[in-house]
């Protein structure tokens, strides 16, 4: 009797082990093509004036939220400039893969990084991230946000901001989920009918907003206006709204590491979208990630980058 039980136990354990090794991984995430990621990074690199501009603006806002009339005129001009530049970059990005695909790969360290990560033990990686996080504990702000890199806008609490409805500004908004198309093996097939074929839910277009509004406000208004479904929830610990799903594409619909992230002017902020106060001419991109941002080049905002 005892031997029988022992044998059964060994058999069950063996079965579990076989199942673990055979079916354990099949969930590898395919990153987005380097061109698609590069697009955002280049916008940040190619427009050096841009960051200075936003920084100045933030400084101005600290003293006086209502900007001068001259400033307003300037900002009216800049969006056109912006869109032109973005168009140019788009053209460049489209041309590049045909001309110099190899150099493109070299330029982009992301691919090498992901290969390294695959080699690294996931447990070790997790430990490293936790260690790094603990080291930074004192530097974090009230809402657990790591220090924002220099030249990038600091988080602004939406409770403190008074929206100035008299002043209309413009920004560019887009919502895409191209990463899902590369990872259809992880995708929740029930949602197939709401997945756009080209991965574009809301094409990049110029939208108006009022001074003092956050990325979240703009997204909510535009999604409502265009009758695109969207669900969000308030997370008081980060003092920000969390976007659970857009167009019925929810977090975790494409693997357990998937969800919505946002990028402003090519940078993934490391704080919530309600705390990012928009400046005139900002380029907001909402992107779906299948791998905690690693597949779209936004891993720094989630898990911190190695220096």
């Amino acid at each position: 009797m005892n031997r029988k039980q022992l044998l059964t136990a060994i058999f069950v354990i063996g079965l579990l082990a076989i199942a673990f090794f055979c079916f354990g991984d099949g969930n590898e995430v395919v990153p987005l093509s380097p061109d698609d990621i590069g697009q955002g990074a280049q916008t940040a690199v190619d427009i050096p004036n841009y960051n200075e501009y936003t920084l100045d603006d933030v400084l101005d806002n600290k003293g006086n939220i209502l900007a001068d009339e001259d400033m307003a005129k300037e900002s009216e001009k800049s969006p056109n400039m912006e869109t032109k530049q973005v168009e140019k970059i788009n053209e460049q990005a489209e041309d590049k893969p045909n001309e110099v695909p190899e150099s493109n790969k070299k330029e982009n360290p992301l691919k090498n990084e992901t290969e390294k990560e695959k080699l690294m033990d996931p447990k070790l990686e997790k430990q490293k991230i936790i260690e790094r996080d603990n080291k930074n504990k004192d530097k974090k702000d009230k809402y657990l946000t790591d220090p924002v890199p220099e030249g990038k806008p600091k988080p602004v609490e939406w409770q403190d901001v008074k929206i100035n409805y008299d002043k209309e500004l413009t920004c560019t908004l887009s919502v895409t989920c191209k990463s899902i198309l590369n990872n259809m093996h992880l995708f929740n097939m029930d949602k197939l009918e709401v997945l756009p074929e080209d991965g574009v839910i809301y094409e990049a277009q110029t939208v108006t907003f009022y001074e003092g509004e956050s990325v979240f406000d703009v997204l909510l208004r535009e999604m409502k206006k265009n009758k695109i479904h969207m669900e969000f929830v308030m997370t008081p610990i980060y003092n920000s709204y969390y976007i659970e799903g857009i167009n019925n594409l929810y977090e975790f619909d494409c693997g357990e590491l998937s969800g919505w992230m946002y990028r402003v002017n090519g940078w993934f902020p490391n704080y919530g979208c309600s705390r990012y106060m928009l400046q005139d001419g900002d380029v907001i991109e909402w992107v779906y990630t299948c791998d905690l941002g690693r597949d779209i080049g936004g891993e720094w905002a989630v898990i911190g980058g190695e220096e």
Binding site: D190, V194, L220, K224, H229, M230, F232, G245, N248, Y250
Partner: protein
């Protein structure tokens, strides 16, 4: 009220029926299946308990159903058909409302089935079935299932005894009332613990769980049980085949979608209907037989 002849069947038949019906109504979210299950659970509970069941179903189950149906769309905003927006900005969708209604139906149905289960599967039947396979667990289960009615009865006894010495919850000022209430609760807890241990000890003293012991009630698996069990097994197989073919479920999110109704799905629906109504059918047949015999005397 008709005498429930389904209760007189072999415990295996009863237990298989209830476990099948409970599991099916928990997992099948198709509206037809939900409807069949809800209606038959309602009919059978009324048949078992008469007017009391009707009152309970309408007084408690209807508000519960409405509450559950409203609760879901308040927190779940998935779905492609946006009806209107909440003040916070989240959408209310048709799909989430329908899902709320369906899950509320399921919830109420399962409660009704459990109320029927409690009336039919008495503890001696349960012990007869599982006393030898899992003696400890089946004793605990049969004791736990009796907790609520037993404790309410015992609390009444304690409170009456306390009333005699002027220490009931109804006597004295607010502080005294609270103190008396806590005292009654403490007596109750002590009694419950002691009683559980006593039951366990007395069961052991009588050799409970030892091999070759007979049970309190003796059931025979006769021809009537065999036929019913075979019919039930056939119906369960048909319903399970339907489940494998995807006939019994419905996709709610992001949009509502079911498999088209074919002749086969109609077969599955009827099989499920007969399965759920089996005790009711048996009871009515017995009743007709009885009337017929009586009329011939």
């Amino acid at each position: 009220m008709i005498i429930d002849s389904f209760s007189s069947f072999h415990p295996i038949v009863n237990f298989t029926y209830f476990s099948a019906v409970l599991l099916f109504s928990m997992f099948f979210m198709h509206p037809v299946f939900l409807g069949i299950s809800l209606v038959s659970a309602f009919v059978y509970s009324v048949m078992l308990k008469g007017k009391k069941a009707v009152k309970f179903n309408i007084l408690y189950m209807m508000p519960l159903l409405l509450f559950m149906a409203i609760l879901n769309p308040a927190f779940n905003h998935q779905g492609v058909t946006i009806l209107f927006y909440l003040k916070s900005g989240n959408p209310i969708t048709l799909e989430s409302i329908l899902f709320g209604v369906a899950s509320a139906c399921m919830f109420v149905t399962v409660i009704l089935w459990f109320s029927c289960y409690n009336a039919v599967m008495t503890s001696d039947k349960f012990i007869y079935l599982f006393g030898r396979i899992i003696p400890g667990l089946s004793l605990i289960l049969s004791m736990v299932l009796r907790f609520v009615p037993r404790y309410t009865a015992q609390i009444k006894v304690i409170s009456n005894a306390q009333k005699c010495v002027g220490r009931d919850v109804t006597q004295g000022n607010v502080i005294a009332k609270a103190r008396n209430g806590i005292k009654i609760l403490s007596i109750m807890t002590t009694w419950a613990l002691e009683n559980a241990i006593e039951t366990g000890d007395s069961m052991r003293a009588r050799g409970y769980g030892l091999p070759k012991r007979t049970s309190f009630s003796i059931f025979r698996f006769d021809n009537r049980d065999k036929v019913t069990f075979a019919v039930m097994a056939g119906l369960i197989v048909i319903v399970l085949i339907g489940a494998v073919m995807g006939e019994n479920t419905m996709r709610f999110f992001p949009s509502i979608k079911t498999i088209n109704t074919t002749i086969f799905s109609l077969v599955v629906y009827t099989a499920y209907f007969i399965l759920c109504m089996l005790p009711v059918i048996i009871n009515i047949m017995e009743e007709i037989k009885w009337k017929y015999i009586v009329s011939r005397i």
